[in-house]
Symmetry: D2
Subunit: 353 residues, 4 copies
């Protein structure tokens, strides 16, 4: 396969490194407007070739990966799909759901594959937790709470919600088979002009609620998600190398009301299990999956539809921030691709036959 990468500033070199490690590409190309980024790549990856225009890159490759500022995703992906090439776009897919819809439709028309870089979906930890949800190890899910904060690089192209909450919304979509029905969010621009601290309250089908806290202003890095189920709880700490997941056999139950309607709660504490997890880097697994899709034409797990859904939820969150925390509904997708996903949703939480 011949694969190209557009944008080799901050994230693109990671894509190149992983492409090289798969050892499956006969030629690697890249294209970037910035000459200093290109020089670094030339130095670090002498095997990579340089295209002098986007058109040249597209012409020379079977598939192209896009790792540029978000506002350029749509025009770049459009050009690549128009040429009938497989395209991978970093998350978030676009900065508006309308543009994402258009890309999906274009991909359909061109019968071209569109994949979005929701990397966490390829993380063994995230997959193990979906198993726990699907096989009802957790019971009914009461709520989910996620903190994704650090003293981070303030991005210039998008705010902290589009940057960090995109991860959580894609993970939640993977776990629950849905994006929030509605979102209430509050955010602030503490330093600079972009919102750099925000909290989202998300209401999913079946009554599941998720709180997401994202911030570029935090003393310590947190990548901590808690799932509270009626049967068990999960603590997922992605900053750990060992024991990323803990499955805790703990809970509270409401007993049948006694005489006179006095209700009783019982508390349960049991073992804690940290399941063994494959330590392969999710970006590598994602890259391998992308190359599989290029080869076979198969639909990626994180296809354009997933990308669209996440963008829809992000849009709702930012609209809520603008409305100072008022609830905003996510508009039901009108995409022709939607129905196919009903299947997946059926396996998800709360959807017992």
């Amino acid at each position: 396969m011949k694969v190209g990468v557009v944008g080799v500033g901050y994230w693109g070199p990671n894509l190149l490194r992983n492409l090289i490690e798969t050892n499956r590409c006969s030629e690697l190309w890249c294209y970037d407007l910035c000459s200093s980024a290109s020089a670094k790549v030339r130095h670090r990856f002498p095997c990579v070739r340089f295209a002098t225009s986007l058109q040249e890159l597209i012409g020379r490759c079977d598939a192209v990966m896009v790792a540029t500022p978000v506002e350029t995703h749509a025009p770049l992906a459009r050009a690549i799909l128009d040429a009938g090439r497989t395209v991978f776009v970093e998350k978030p897919l676009t900065n508006s759901s309308q543009k994402a819809e258009e890309l999906l439709q274009l991909a359909e028309r061109r019968r071209a594959v569109l994949m979005v870089g929701h990397t966490f979906i390829y993380s063994p930890a995230v997959r193990k937790i979906r198993e726990y949800i699907d096989n009802r190890t957790l019971g009914d899910i009461y709520f989910i709470s996620a903190s994704r904060v650090n003293l981070g690089l303030h991005r210039k192209d998008v705010n902290v919600v589009w940057d960090l909450a995109a991860h959580d919304l894609s993970i939640l979509y993977y776990w629950l088979g849905a994006i929030p029905l509605r979102v209430a969010a509050l955010g602030r621009a503490c330093v600079g002009r972009m919102v750099d601290v925000a909290s989202l309250h998300c209401e999913f089908p079946e009554g599941v609620v998720a709180n997401i806290e994202v911030s570029w202003l935090a003393p310590c890095k947190l990548r901590r998600t808690v799932l509270i189920g009626s049967e068990r709880m999960v603590l997922y700490d992605d900053t750990q190398t060992d024991e990323k997941i803990k499955l805790l056999d703990r809970g509270v139950k409401l007993e049948e009301p006694q005489s006179f309607g006095e209700y009783q709660l019982t508390y349960r504490t049991g073992d804690v299990l940290s399941p063994f997890l494959d330590i392969t880097e999710p970006v590598f697994l994602q890259t391998r999956h992308f190359l599989d899709c290029v080869e076979t034409g198969a639909r990626p797990e994180t296809d354009g539809f997933v990308g669209l859904k996440v963008v829809t939820a992000l849009e709702a969150a930012c609209e809520s921030i603008d409305k100072n925390g008022a609830f905003v509904e996510t508009s039901p997708s009108t995409s022709a691709c939607a129905p196919r996903r009903a299947e997946r949703a059926r396996h998800a939480i709360g959807a017992n036959p």
Copy 2:
């Protein structure tokens, strides 16, 4: 001094233990309707005497501490104040700001001392952080984020906001010299009928924002508060025995816009300091302060006014939960005692002359 305790179920015995440890009370009395609670006290603290009625207890004591379900706080405190005795009421002072106001007025009329059990105000960690705020070690405060969650005893008298967020609101009042101007809160009753998970977004004077997460449903106990300032950050983890506070010399600054209005952010990372803290139990320090006030008639640091302010904020939070997250203003206090507090506020953050 002769001191009495009303209510010796869950928390009252702690008050007794600390009263005994001060070694300053000539007689200790208690009163409880529940005979099994009384029997336990009789066994554990044989020196404590038992009153057969509230009136007897009040009659025999110089001061009375109340550790009963919240709805009984107001009538009990009223009876004690009416008798001209010094009274200590566990937090929250009452379950409505109106009742709290009435107690304050009664205390004024009787010239009796009213103290509220906002224990954290006596914690050396909380006091050290106020020092950092007051001497501008942190610079301007951008925001504060607090998590107070555990797999907790679901209380039957109040919901998780009145139970746990009362601590955070009293701490914030102590740090910032104010309660929130307005609150937006969301909460759920996952198990049982009481709200057992909630998040509060609080807006303070001078633009400071605090997020408070409280829950009785969590896999691990968190008592974690982060303060983000323009100069430094603080991580306060009350579950630690060593290093409860970390003062981090970290931050981000917006530099003067360069030509063409491009703004630049600079990141700074420096030392981390964990200051030495006295390890005396805050409940003991609070008890000692109470006995000082009984002896001298001095106004307690956590007097009725503080208690009222916290109740006012809790009321606003719960009203917001009922209104599904809509912002609720805290009504400005009309209490005659209010003006005296202006002094304190002057020392607090943002109030530079």
Copy 3:
């Protein structure tokens, strides 16, 4: 039962508190030469009565617990056993194996019960690990490594080995059914005249080796024991409240030599399990067991024989320190009680029929 405590300085009040909590003693007595210690007890536990002499205490009680400096253990225990009373002696039993032997013989002659305060044997964590050893969850034990260090109170009656390693040697005796066959130890008196830092290398039957590090000079408290087995590993951290034990499905195996005698190692990494453990305080469980033995005359789990074995090992360790690390054999016990223990040893590791 009427129970007495001799010595109410540092540790004795803990025994009193636990005796009170069992709610099984009709009278509690204590005796201490130090009037300020007695005064504190009088204040804290008004129900406790005071004897004016050891003889009075012995005369008034069915059983006596001894919590005094180590050099007084033997004469005190002798007086109590002579009077035919049940006696509990804090660890270590005595400061020489000869005195310990004499106490055992005296107890035999008087048919009186002698129990030693090896509290950790009653800890649910220590018991769970013995289960893992006995049911061969760990496979063959390669070695054990224990760190018991803190910035501790330098004792004046014994050095750090007698103070802290006594715990580890009793735990190892409980796990392995034996004390070390021989010990090599090195120690230093960094501050003061007592050895305050030491490391012990202990060789047990069946080739098991244990390293024990003890210190009164350490920046942080460590109570960390690691067991490395051929099948699994255990990490036991007694400073944790949650997850004191982790059972790790990790290991290395030597594969059958291939052609030409090249050996191969295979590494295995699997799940980590933190079993649920009862959180009752070990001192309480020990106190309850003591009262059971007082009532029934049964042999305690940590009887004089266990106490003697631990003293024998401690003696060997200190002799080795004096000999600058030379190996010292533990002399085989000549006690008449020894044979009874063969049973226990049979269940222990490596002793497969």
Copy 4:
């Protein structure tokens, strides 16, 4: 500069990566007998050229780095020095002090630079601690305790002492300006034939003692060194990314004996400071220093003499293991280069004028 690397199996690729990152080498060459290792390098670093013999590599380069099994260090280094090239040898320098002496003499004769890969000497954390020692922040050092354990790759060329304790001995040499005067060590081969678990007791000039625990059999990775001084303590945890060092203002002091010779200890607990540390990778700093030495001909900080001293201490440790823990003196170096080091030692701990 033209730089070559001999041996590109496990560690060599790291050297190549860092050489590339310095961006200071006009040509990079490598040589390895193993064709699969070479193939991986060819794939990962397409800019690296391949020599077909050691002689070719030496002929084409100004300097050569050796990252091969330990027994080949001496002959390879000899060949490179003989050709007058600058040589870098991974730690440990050789597997015997005699061979190390010979290399030093050869380097002197050829006036060629010999550097040893004691990487930790370039770690900002290790350097900061030397500052604390040199400026007497810690006061007198009572002892040092180091744990370097993990579930590690059992090496086939050397045992765990030569593999892991080499790091600690080089760090201690850097901190204290000396290797141990004598060592007592115990070790075992739990799995396989090589010693895979060992503990070393090292006695340094001025009465400083260091215990080193190394193991390839451990449930969790530990890289934990504690320094106990009369004034302060240091906890150095190299597995942390943040707060690798903690400087603790804690200690115990022996007060002047009171009347009747009763000694008193006083305990002190103060602040904990985690100093900011540069996060540049030590291997990169080491590589940069090596290239500086190649350019200028300067003596490296970790020259052959340091390498020899560490080998001398490792030899003593392994001799002690063979003698079952008996103390073994490190023979005083006879190298002509030794006197020059007296200077360094003068700055080290305990060497007050």
